[in-house]
Amino acid sequence: MAVIPVSRKPLTFAERTYIPQILGGLRITFARMIKPAETMEYPEQRPEIPKNYRGVPTLVKDPNGREKCVSCQLCEFVCPPKAIRITPGEIAPDSPTAHVEKAPQAFDIDMLRCIYCGLCQEVCPEEAIFLQNQYSMTGLTRAEMVNHKDRLYELGGTLPDQHHKWDKKKAAEEHGSAAH
């Protein structure tokens, strides 16, 4: 195995006068000075947010406007700091999505507890909760920092649905009952 001792040579006479180092240092700083700035004027300029960024968790709807969450409460269970509170509710029987049966009656995420870990998004079996681009949340009171269901849908918006699982299920059910 290669072990290399780090080299430490004694300073030369010139180096002991501080002068070469100071000049060398100045050269580096002046060279840096004429380069474009690395900093950013924050609120005016915003950094580019990469895909799959883990920002504020939000709830999303599918393209037909159905809330995707079926309040299975898996995210509530997995959330390490216990930031999520869900009250499950029923979907009205006359609704076109009645076959989904359940949707959250209340869904609160306490952003003072949330650590943006993304586990909720990872475990959700419905692709209903997403950590999206928003990264700065402020509020003047503790209550303001709790995102309720409406706010979560407002933040989340609509995301395309690859699977249309419930539409397929409905189609299959109708098809099945028509056959009888």
């Binding site: 072990v3 290399i4 780090v6 690395e38 960024y53 898996l74 390490p80 650590i115 993304g118 699982k165």
Partner: protein, 412 residues
């Protein structure tokens, strides 16, 4: 009636001292920290001073104690991953990896080559980022501002890469038991490679500002000397141990995650002073770049998580959405946790700060029965009472910076 008070006659006392021809001094006690810029967090050192000379130094730790070990007993193995971010919060990716490997050893689970390579690349990037911070902060401690700014510029570039890979800059929570949270995005390895290429000359520039600089050397050479024997006796690990000339590097001595495939050197110091520790960190960054470049050059394809570990790693998302079996599997995994056999395991990884160890005791099931964390910063700090004695107060700042500890891990 007048009352007589016996005022201590200070003048008389000093006159007596003068008569006895001795200079009267009293030892002074000084609390350095918990909020002192050079204690890098919330360390308090109870100093006893004789004038400017330290006669006793007593580190007081625990201000950042969050009970991580106890927390671990109350959640599944995967849920604890975000907590490992917050140990050595300057290198969360390396902590994630050490924890995941410890639990995988418990399950006797081998992860695929691609996953190993991803973990090595991220851990080495974390090492560079942690050493850059150590270097920059050390510069500030001993009076060199510019180094800090340049080091942080480079660190920002690394954070951009972390952000793209894991979704977060700081609290990455990237590994899962049996794999990683997600595969590397398209073109990410090329960008990591490009970072390495541009980083090397800049690293030389940054180090050039300090290495031969007499002002810096005056503050570090022959200050805080830790002898080889002391370094071993106090259980130091990482760059602090290697700075004292002991070539122990777990990546070489007990390779994990495929480190045996990569060629790299282990830098060691000769004297064990602050300057040596600084030099070792500088060289380690160059070696990390070497490892990253090798790992990227032969980046393996294939799966990035253990596909056969059905009771440990969650099934792919589109399967969860379309198939009943995987849906149930996902529910079981999340609610019960990754299923581990009963037993115990101890695993140490070479983290930027030293050997980070996880001792996991399992009684089976998805929750550890006991999880003990061996934090390198905690052990490294134990030598403070020894090295600080006889040093000047300003040297204590230099010694602390050179030990490069992080309190999140020390207090856990």
């Amino acid at each position: 009636m007048a009352t007589d008070f016996a005022f201590p006659d200070t003048g008389a006392k000093s006159a007596a001292a003068v008569a006895a021809q001795e200079f009267q001094t009293e030892k002074m006690s000084l609390s350095m920290g918990p909020s002192h810029p050079s204690t890098h967090g919330v360390l308090r050192i109870q100093l006893e001073l004789d004038g400017e000379i330290v006669t006793k130094a007593d580190p007081v730790v625990g201000y950042l104690h969050r009970g991580d070990e106890k927390i671990a007993e109350n959640m599944t193995y995967n849920q604890f991953v975000p907590y490992t971010d917050r140990l050595d919060y300057l290198a969360p990716l390396a902590n994630n990896m050490a924890y995941a490997i410890a639990v995988e050893r418990l399950a006797k689970l081998e992860v695929p080559a691609r996953c190993q390579a991803i973990r090595v690349i991220t851990a080495e990037m974390a090492r560079i980022s942690a050493h850059l911070l150590g270097l920059g902060a050390y510069g500030i401690d001993v009076g060199a501002w510019t180094v800090f700014l340049y080091a942080f510029t480079e660190r920002e570039k690394l954070y951009k890469l972390f952000e793209e890979l894991t979704g977060a800059r700081f609290t990455t929570s990237y590994t899962r038991i049996g794999g990683v949270a997600r595969d590397v995005p398209e073109g990410w390895t090329d960008r990591a490679d490009a970072f390495c290429d541009q980083f090397l000359p800049i690293l030389e520039q940054i180090l050039n500002l300090l290495t031969r600089n007499k002002i810096f050397m005056d503050r570090t050479v022959d200050v805080g000397v830790i002898s080889r024997e002391d370094a071993i006796a106090y259980g130091l690990t990482g760059p602090n141990l290697r700075g004292s000339g002991v070539p122990l590097d777990l990546r070489k001595d007990k390779p994990y995650s495929g480190y045996e495939q990569y060629e790299f050197d282990v830098p060691v110091g000769a004297k064990g002073d602050c300057y040596d520790r600084y030099l070792v960190r500088g060289e380690e960054m160059r070696q990390s770049v070497r490892i990253i470049k090798q790992a990227i050059a032969k980046f393996p394809g294939g799966p990035w998580y253990a596909t056969d570990a059905k009771k440990i790693f969650a099934p792919p998302k589109d399967k969860i959405l379309t198939s009943m079996e995987e849906l149930i599997q996902n529910f079981m995994l999340v609610t019960e946790g990754p299923q581990m056999p009963a037993g115990e395991v101890y695993f140490e990884a070479e983290n930027p700060k030293g050997a980070l160890g996880f001792y996991v005791v399992s009684k089976g099931g998805g929750v550890p029965w006991r999880l003990k964390i061996r934090a390198p910063s905690f052990c490294n700090l134990s030598i403070l009472p020894k090295v600080c004695v006889g040093a000047m107060v300003s040297d204590v700042v230099s010694i602390l910076g050179s030990l490069d500890f992080v309190m999140g891990e020390c207090d856990r």
